[in-house]
């Protein structure tokens, strides 16, 4: 579903991603871990098509199409979703209006009729349950005044609404209390099908107890330096990244 080939990305002249390769198939869950500042969020942003990044080499292929020249919105309409590490507050735009606009533009792109008010309402109420949201979404502005945890929960709600093919969840677990973590993780699990794929970016094993990954990758110094089964996450949690650094510097990895 997603194939990243030798991706090089610079920000303001500084190379952040130094040749990332990644292959994600339908039905899979991948975890990306790695120390702060190694480029995990950058990778998510570049997949989403955010401006301000110089892609100096490589390709991103999604469902067989090279998406490098696609607009942000078209990538989303093709089925890419990012659960942001720091969701933006948008005062004055209600969550309901936001989701209705998004959903209908995606449907239009796919040649489907727009949902009418009643259909949308029904869908929204169903999806609210997935992340146990109780708020009135017509009056609440997107993320405005939300706590860190509420913002993350709202990201998963949006994911539930838009039913993406590929979800990249960037530290969705950070800032969640124990109950919220369970709710969010269960939400993600409920949304998992054979057809879609998930990439979770995380620092903690905790989340991976709920969302069990097929593969764990370590992003270090702008590259995926190690990939392994779910046990790799446990090992990282126990041992930290020093050994990765050592092995990397000794040229043992890649």
């Amino acid at each position: 579903m997603l194939k990243i080939e030798d991706l090089h990305v610079s920000i303001k002249g500084r190379e952040i991603l130094k040749g990332v390769n990644l292959n994600v198939n339908a039905g899979e869950v991948h975890a990306i871990m790695g120390p702060n500042g190694t480029g995990k969020s950058t990778l998510a942003s570049v997949i989403a098509g955010k401006d301000g990044y110089d892609v100096t080499g490589g390709n991103i292929i999604f469902k067989g199409k090279n998406i490098m020249d696609m607009s942000i919105e078209d990538r989303a309409r093709e089925g890419i979703f990012i659960g942001f590490q720091y969701p933006v507050e948008i005062p004055g735009v209600s969550i309901a209006n936001f989701m209705r606009t998004a959903l209908n533009e995606i449907r239009q792109y796919r040649g489907l009729d727009p949902l009418n008010g009643a259909q949308f309402l029904k869908l929204m109420n169903e999806k609210k349950k997935i992340v146990e949201l109780t708020e009135k979404l017509s009056t609440r502005s997107v993320n405005e005044g939300f706590s860190g945890g509420e913002k993350k929960r709202n990201e998963i709600f949006q994911m539930a609404m838009l039913e993406p093919m590929l979800s990249i969840l960037d530290e969705t677990d950070s800032g969640l209390d124990i109950d919220a973590l369970r709710i969010v993780a269960n939400g993600v699990t409920k949304l998992k099908t054979k057809e879609n794929a998930t990439i979770v970016i995380t620092h903690y094993q905790r989340l991976l107890d709920y969302i069990v990954p097929d593969v764990v990758h370590v992003l270090f110094d702008g590259k995926i330096v190690k990939s392994g089964p779910k046990e790799l996450a446990l090992e990282l949690e126990k041992r930290g990244y020093d050994w990765i650094k050592e092995e990397y510097e000794q040229g043992k990895l890649i």
Partner: protein, 412 residues
């Protein structure tokens, strides 16, 4: 007034439109579509108060409302203390002209200790094939501990050039409260000068919210005098202009007494070659200790040719004050745009959503729910290019409007 003096003179040459037939039912001229607002109509057509045979109505609770000319004849003792009482330094040529030559206008009198449940709605409509000069004068008096809401709609429909010059004198007695909502939807050939003067006694509150949907040439002047302690004035405004429309907001708030509060939040979106001015002037006099005064003006310029002239200005002579002012002229928040687009919303729609949010913020300060919803809807339609001069009569005209609500958010 210099640039308009010639125009004014020229318009004066034209014969004033005759007063509409007083015995035609008011409903033939005005219908307000906004349901659940329960407002009492005070219609003005081409500068004349429209009524069947009652130029002035006295309600059970002692409230008096209707034609100012009738009030001058019937209740001189009520109106004279508040009529044409502006300070010399507050007057301009246009105001003097208005004082001498106003044809009609609205008088509203609220006695002490009276909460007026239903808002009064002053609908000022111009519909004339000939060029027209309208000079209206309004006097609004709210007694001690009383409360009133006014909705004022200035619209023009079609045909001739119009020049409208309105002076409104508002007096708020002790602990009186006035919510004053204004909408302006004027076509390109119209010039509208609105001068509002507010005098406030102790503990009184003045809340105004002025939304300009279309401008022609609009000039809104608001002068507020906070004359006694603990008076409060909150002024909100929104101007949405495009093409060659011009909208000026000149605000002056004078803190004469201690412990008063004033705030201003004005926002504008300017497209094409439109121009807008925000001059907000707050004066805190030497004795006005413990004043709190805030001013903000935010603008979105959509083209290089659109212009905003913004001058938030504080003039402070007291030392114990809490004041701030600021102006921004900018584009939309790029991070927010990215967020919206990353959910599949096209760039154009994303911009529109953010623009709507920016503008709708002002509607959120409207306290009458039905009016708030309606204004939000109108802002939305304006930004979508659907609220044009041709269908602007949606304010009044139930038959001709074809309102499509894209989402009934209140149900969600």
């Amino acid at each position: 007034m210099k640039p308009f003096a010639d125009y004014l003179e020229q318009l004066k040459q034209y014969r004033l439109q005759t007063q509409p037939d007083p015995f035609r039912p008011v409903e033939e001229y005005f219908k307000c579509q906004v349901a659940n607002m329960g407002s009492i109509m005070l219609p003005i057509l081409n500068g004349w108060y429209v009524h069947e045979d009652m130029p002035l109505t006295t309600y059970e609770n002692g409230v008096i409302a209707g034609s100012i000319k009738a009030a001058i004849a019937q209740y001189p003792e009520l109106i004279n203390p508040y009529l044409c009482k502006l300070q010399e330094n507050e007057k301009s040529g246009l105001i003097e002209s208005n004082e001498h030559e106003f044809t009609d206008g609205i008088f509203i009198y609220v006695p002490d200790n009276t909460k007026v449940e239903n808002p009064f709605q002053i609908v000022s409509l111009v519909n004339s094939r000939e060029d027209l000069l309208v000079q209206n004068h309004n006097v609004i008096y709210v007694g001690n501990n009383s409360e009133l809401s006014i909705i004022q709609c200035d619209d023009s429909t079609k045909y001739g050039k119009t020049f409208i010059n309105v002076v409104t004198e508002i007096t708020l007695s002790e602990n009186a409260r006035l919510h004053y909502y204004k909408t302006e939807n004027k076509e390109a050939e119209s010039m509208l000068f609105n001068h509002i003067f507010v005098n406030q006694k102790a503990y009184s509150q003045f809340h105004s919210n002025a939304i300009t949907f279309n401008a022609g040439y609009v000039c809104n002047d608001i002068h507020v005098n906070l004359n006694e302690p603990f008076a409060e004035a909150n002024l909100y405004g929104l101007y949405l202009v495009d093409k060659t429309q011009k909208c000026n907001n000149h605000i002056q708030v004078r803190h004469h007494a201690t412990d008063c509060k004033s705030s201003q939040l004005y926002k504008g979106i300017m497209d094409d070659e439109s121009e807008a001015t925000f001059h907000g002037h707050v004066v805190v006099e030497q004795d006005a200790q413990r004043t709190a005064a805030f001013q903000t003006n935010r603008n979105l310029l959509l083209t290089d040719k659109a212009k905003i002239n913004t001058k938030p200005f504080l003039e402070i002579y007291a030392d114990d004050v809490q004041c701030s002012h600021g102006a921004t002229v900018g584009q939309l928040d790029e991070e927010a745009l990215y967020y919206l687009r990353s959910r599949g919303i096209g760039e154009r729609s994303a911009r529109k959503l953010l623009m709507f949010a920016f503008a709708n913020d002002i509607c959120q300060h409207v306290e009458i729910q039905a009016l708030k919803d309606r204004l939000s809807d109108m802002v939305q339609r304006r930004l979508n290019g659907e609220l044009t001069i041709c269908d602007q009569c949606m304010w009044h005209d139930a038959e001709n409007s074809n309102v499509i609500f894209p989402i009934d958010a209140s149900k969600l």
